[in-house]
């Protein structure tokens, strides 16, 4: 075993001294500032040549203790903080929190608000997957896809800006519905986006998916069996890439997900390419959901009538939603007051990360990036 000082210092006396005694192995720090970790994730990996022998994540560089913060915020206020967890699916995080509060209040949501929420969720999911696609390609050394992905994502953020007032941390969901009605341009612009998206998705396949180098980098890398995926608590595209049915939208439908038609994407290989394909195909399903709903937004209120001060009854409330990364659980323990007594966010990234060591041990250093990329880690989501 190595001591803590050896872990922390990348520059031990010489590289030979930094190697573990007698084994020819060396410890290197990937992160907390590293181009492939997309944030402040710190992985301590033990390498034998190029082969990874051991991997240990060190977390906490961006831990803000959102759970503790929420304990002092009211049920209206705490929702905005959750945008800062998984900032790429901030709408969905807010949605989960709003749903939990509504479950506690036993509030009926107007159908218009439900449809708007689902539309926003799916747009967020596409935006998140777009960014992941670009970043994934960048992890493997292809820079150009990143810009193409951002071009399409920009259209979505523009739509969000117009309707929600912000581009990333929207805070559009409030208990009882949404903060304000959709912008008059919303439907037209979403339809324009879908046309644009469909015309550009072939380019993605030409540039990345079909590329022989990319396929060789991804296929057979970072294998995760279905049993392991369940045991590690993996959800979302990571679990579905291993053939585990885990789409909360199908299993425990919320809002109007039981009224729209879409498929749960399953791939059975369990390697990085399977996870990649799940996300690419999921974007198509999200487009399918949006197409069904965009012309059928029911008339009516966009917000249910709520009291000025919300008080949840004494009890425990747990809601699950499907974010772009997997299953987000919001667990509120209420003592009957205006603030939650204890709140726990079961974040998808945390569980997905725990499977990383299992997936990469024995493979090359380059495979670590290919695997980590397909886990789609958002570090604030892991640290919270």
């Amino acid at each position: 075993m190595y001591t803590e000082t050896q872990i922390v210092h990348n520059n031990t006396k010489t590289t030979v001294d930094g190697a573990l005694d007698g084994t020819g192995e060396m410890v290197i720090n990937v992160g907390p500032q590293h181009p492939a970790t997309h944030g402040v994730l710190h992985l301590v990996i033990t390498l034998n040549g190029e082969t990874i022998k051991k991997l240990e994540p060190h977390l906490g560089y961006i831990h803000r203790s959102i759970e503790k913060m929420c304990e002092s915020l009211s049920y209206r206020q705490f929702i905005y903080v959750t945008s800062r967890m998984d900032y790429l699916s901030s709408h969905i995080n807010n949605h989960a929190c709003a749903l939990t509060v509504e479950k506690g209040l036993q509030l009926e949501i107007p159908p218009r608000a439900q449809v708007i929420r689902v539309l926003m969720d799916e747009l967020t999911r596409i935006a998140s997957h777009e960014l992941w696609w670009g970043a994934m390609a960048m992890d493997l050394g292809a820079f150009t896809p990143f810009f193409y992905a951002f071009r399409e994502r920009e259209t979505i953020t523009d739509i969000m800006e117009e309707t929600c007032g912000a581009r990333l941390t929207m805070n559009y969901m409030v208990p009882g519905g949404v903060m304000y009605d959709i912008h008059p341009n919303f439907q037209r612009r979403v339809k324009d986006f879908i046309t644009l998206f469909k015309s550009k998705i072939d380019e993605y396949n030409d540039l990345v998916t079909g590329n022989i180098i990319f396929q060789n980098r991804m296929k057979g890398v970072g294998k995760l069996s279905a049993e392991d995926a369940i045991s590690f608590g993996c959800t979302g595209p990571v679990a579905r890439g291993s053939g585990v049915k885990s789409d909360i939208r199908k299993l425990f439908p919320y809002e109007v997900y039981d009224k729209v038609e879409f498929d749960e994407i399953l791939e059975t290989e369990g390697d990085s390419f399977a996870r990649y394909m799940v996300r690419i195909r999921e974007m198509h399903q999200s487009v399918r959901i949006i197409e069904q709903l965009i012309d059928n937004i029911p008339e009516g209120d966009f917000q249910a009538k709520t009291k000025a001060v919300l008080k949840l009854p004494k009890g425990e409330f747990y809601t699950r939603v499907e974010t772009a990364r997997g299953e987000l659980g919001v667990y509120i323990v209420s003592e009957g007051g205006t603030t939650p007594y204890r709140i726990k966010f079961r974040s998808p990234g945390f569980s997905n990360l725990s499977a990383l060591e299992h997936m990469v041990v024995g493979s090359k250093l380059g495979d670590l990036m290919a695997t980590m990329g397909t886990l789609d880690l958002v570090i604030p989501d892991i640290d919270r």
């Binding site: 915020l73 209206r76 206020q77 705490f78 905005y80 903080v81 150009t144 071009r151 920009e154 800006e161 117009e162 309707t163 929600c164 007032g165 912000a166 941390t169 805070n171 409030v174 903060m179 304000y180 912008h183 380019e203 030409d206 540039l207 990345v208 079909g210 590329n211 022989i212 180098i213």
Partner: protein
Amino acid sequence: MFIKEYISDIYHAVKSLLTGMKTTGGYFIRPGEIITQQYPENRADLNLSERFRGEVVMIHDENNEHACTGCTACELACPNATIKIITKFDVSPDGKKKKALDTFVYHLELCTMCNLCVEACPTDAIKMAQNFEHSVYDRSKLTKKLNQPGSKIREGVE
């Protein structure tokens, strides 16, 4: 057949690489699709939607009157203690004391633009403005007083 597979491998590999090069090469010769926005120059035609949340401002009309009663609903709604309302007592001509706004202190450096204060305001006295260029050299400049000097509450706003 080993040789056949070997050759077809190479064929497909080269084909996939050329497809990728066609895509990037296509963009190289089509400069019309460049999406760069040259920010400081395009300031004039920047299109920010009217809902964009840049900072909290207080609405003043042409008579330098606002609608804030100093009820502190926004202060209570704010999750970050961004807003501090200082109230005073106005004495009306008939001798009645009435609570009124003295200073609306707004800490821009603490604000997360969540819009909860605007939602909470019963008299629509504040709104979100579209200004997003907040950088200043001194942090103390971010603490703002939102009610203009000499402004008073509009008649009839309770």
